[in-house]
């Protein structure tokens, strides 16, 4: 299985050179999934037949002269993207059998680019969680240590790429759900600027923060995939029509002289000391690249989690009202009347964390609470966004840790609900402000991966990608692979 940890870019060369075929790559990937997934539970569903067919079409297209960089490369979609060929479950009982009659825009674009979908990845239910433990289909394991979580909510995607099941998986990030699992699994993940990628067909959690992004082994791969994913969509009012840069071409642009801000609040007592050490080393590496490190301050960092956990559940409480057992999704048996239909379908169909967030959300939106909680949170959100803008007017990029801890244990009952929410403390700001942010492998803490976070200005993906790419040219963290026990 020497191909399984190759990058998209490397596979492209091999495919173009005729060294391998897409069908071979795809069969290998499917075999690896069959081998490792029973342990990892990263993939919820896969479609061998359709994947091989797509691979065959890709090989044919290549023979006909198509040389799209993503052509024929196998990949996985987080099970939050609507796909016509496989169920879209959002890892929930509510949608366990749901067959979307249309493809998400992201799915359509990557399909048009010639990528081969292997299957759908596990996740926290309806993207609510930071450990992939709220999934209806069971927890997903971190390939680095299978008694630990892969992070969440895009845990399945991160685990799959880390374990070499596919070189690329799509994820979504509302409060850190691409970056935190990427950090915990030692891979590279990018959350684009809010509005860079279409949300059409991506099941909504928190509409004002959700963004789709690539999770892969390198920044270069992320750049290639983002180019294909990004761009305006007449079906999404919040998707920007701004032209999409050729991200891959800018990866080697000069970084010398770039100013990188290090917020002191990101090195608070919330941050695990071993993680802190790894990050500090990584930052020195950036300095070695000719980058100027600048001390900055984001004083509202401590308010981020509260702000997020008012706004996101509130938006989610409305977004999840459509799951009522009427037109699709789980319906309880023998409903006696309309209210019974609603109450039992929803109570039986949703897991506990989802219900918790719906309750909090409905509460903060209710008449007596709106001004004090929801409106207040939206005001603080603007404050936080303004703070980031102010700092990013003085520096080009903000850097720090992606997550306060490395991968924690599964079923850690010592972690309270709010402890879990604090996992997002460093990632949340970029979601509230709508900024692009990525996590790159930057070291190890207790033999577990650590991710460095880079946050850019709105539509400033070029800056963070080139910094990440050139960091990866000088370091080898992203090349590490987990010590997996293969069965064959």
């Amino acid at each position: 299985m020497t191909m399984c940890f190759e990058t998209v870019a490397a596979l492209r060369s091999k495919l173009t050179a005729g060294e391998i075929s897409s069908v071979e790559l795809t069969s290998d990937a499917l075999a690896r999934i069959a081998d490792l997934n029973p342990e990892l539970n990263a993939v919820i569903a896969s479609s061998e037949e359709q994947a091989i067919e797509a691979a065959m079409r890709a090989d044919e297209a290549r023979r006909d002269g198509n040389n799209n960089p993503l052509l024929g490369i196998p990949m996985l979609h987080k099970d939050i993207f609507c796909t016509q060929n496989l169920p879209t479950t959002c890892a929930s009982k509510m949608l366990a059998d749901f067959m979307a009659p249309y493809d998400a825009t992201v799915v359509r674009r990557l399909d048009q680019a010639g990528m081969v979908m292997l299957g759908k990845c596990n996740m926290d239910e309806f993207a609510m969680g930071s450990s992939n433990e709220t999934s209806y289909f069971g927890a997903c394991k971190n390939p680095w240590n299978t008694s630990r979580v892969p992070g969440g909510s895009s845990g399945g995607s991160a685990s799959a790429v880390a374990a070499g099941l596919a070189p690329l998986a799509t994820g979504t990030d509302t409060g850190g759900s691409i970056r935190q699992p990427a950090a915990l699994c030692g891979i590279t993940g990018l959350k684009p600027t809010y509005g860079r990628v279409s949300r059409y067909g991506m099941v909504a959690f928190a509409s004002s923060m959700d963004q789709a992004g690539p999770m892969a082994r390198t920044a270069e791969d992320c750049a290639l995939v983002l180019e294909a994913m990004a761009g305006g969509d007449p079906l999404d009012s919040t998707c920007s029509e701004k032209p999409v840069p050729n991200y891959a071409q800018h990866l080697s642009d000069a970084v010398t002289g770039m100013r990188v801000g290090i917020p002191k609040e990101f090195f608070s007592s919330d941050l695990n000391p071993e993680v802190a050490t790894a990050i500090e080393t990584a930052l020195k590496e950036l300095e070695g690249m000719g980058v100027k490190l600048v001390d900055v301050s984001l004083p509202s960092t401590s308010l981020g989690v509260s702000t997020y956990y008012i706004i996101a559940p509130a938006e989610a409480s409305a977004n999840l009202s459509r799951y009522d057992g009427v037109r699709y999704g789980y319906r309880c048996e023998n409903p006696t009347d309309l209210q019974d239909l609603y109450l039992r379908s929803r109570s039986q169909g949703f897991g506990d964390e989802v219900k918790r967030r719906i309750l909090i959300g409905a509460f903060t939106l209710s008449a007596a609470s709106y001004d004090q909680y929801f409106m207040k949170a939206q005001q603080v959100r603007r404050m936080i966004a303004q703070e980031y803008d102010d700092v990013l007017s003085k520096v080009d990029v903000i850097a720090g840790p992606s997550a306060p801890n490395s991968a924690f244990l599964l079923n850690d009952t010592s972690k309270s609900i709010t402890d879990m929410y604090m996992e997002d403390v460093f990632t949340i700001g970029a979601n509230l402000a709508g900024l692009p942010a990525m996590s790159v492998p930057a070291g190890l803490a207790n033999d577990l991966p650590v991710g460095m976070q880079l946050i850019g200005r709105r539509f400033g993906e070029v800056d963070i990608l080139k910094l990440a790419h050139q960091f990866q040219q000088r370091t080898t963290w992203h090349n590490l692979t987990p010590p997996l026990k293969e069965r064959s």
């Binding site: 699709y328 219900k355 609900i417 709508g434």
Partner: protein
């Protein structure tokens, strides 16, 4: 300009301060079993404690942020287009007949 909220639908009714978790669950059409009420209330309150940090922040004159976009709403041309046919749209219906979705009879 800060938009402050009014609620003409509740004009004339008294709004109580003690909203219970059950009240909220009703609004959201969720059941909380009697045996769970205490636990759910506790978790609820824990999360509310998290929010207390916001109450002391001075936000006078700050416009609430709805989403990070700075553009205005794009407008769609008034053309008819069917993206998915009825069969596809209703393929997941738990109960349907004669092309209607069915729910237990509602009496107005």
């Amino acid at each position: 300009m800060v938009v402050s909220r009014f609620s003409p639908d509740l004009a004339g009714s008294t709004v109580t301060q003690t909203t219970t978790v059950r009240d909220v669950a009703d609004l959201a059409r969720l059941i909380i079993a009697d045996s769970d009420v205490a636990k759910v209330t506790e978790e609820f309150n824990q999360t509310l404690t998290l929010f207390e940090a916001l109450t002391i922040v001075n936000t006078d004159g700050i416009e609430p942020m709805v989403n990070p976009c700075t553009e205005s709403q794009p407008l769609r041309t008034d053309n008819v287009e069917t993206l998915v046919n009825r069969e596809g749209l209703m393929q997941n219906a738990p109960a349907s007949e004669q092309n209607y979705f069915l729910v237990p009879r509602v009496i107005d």
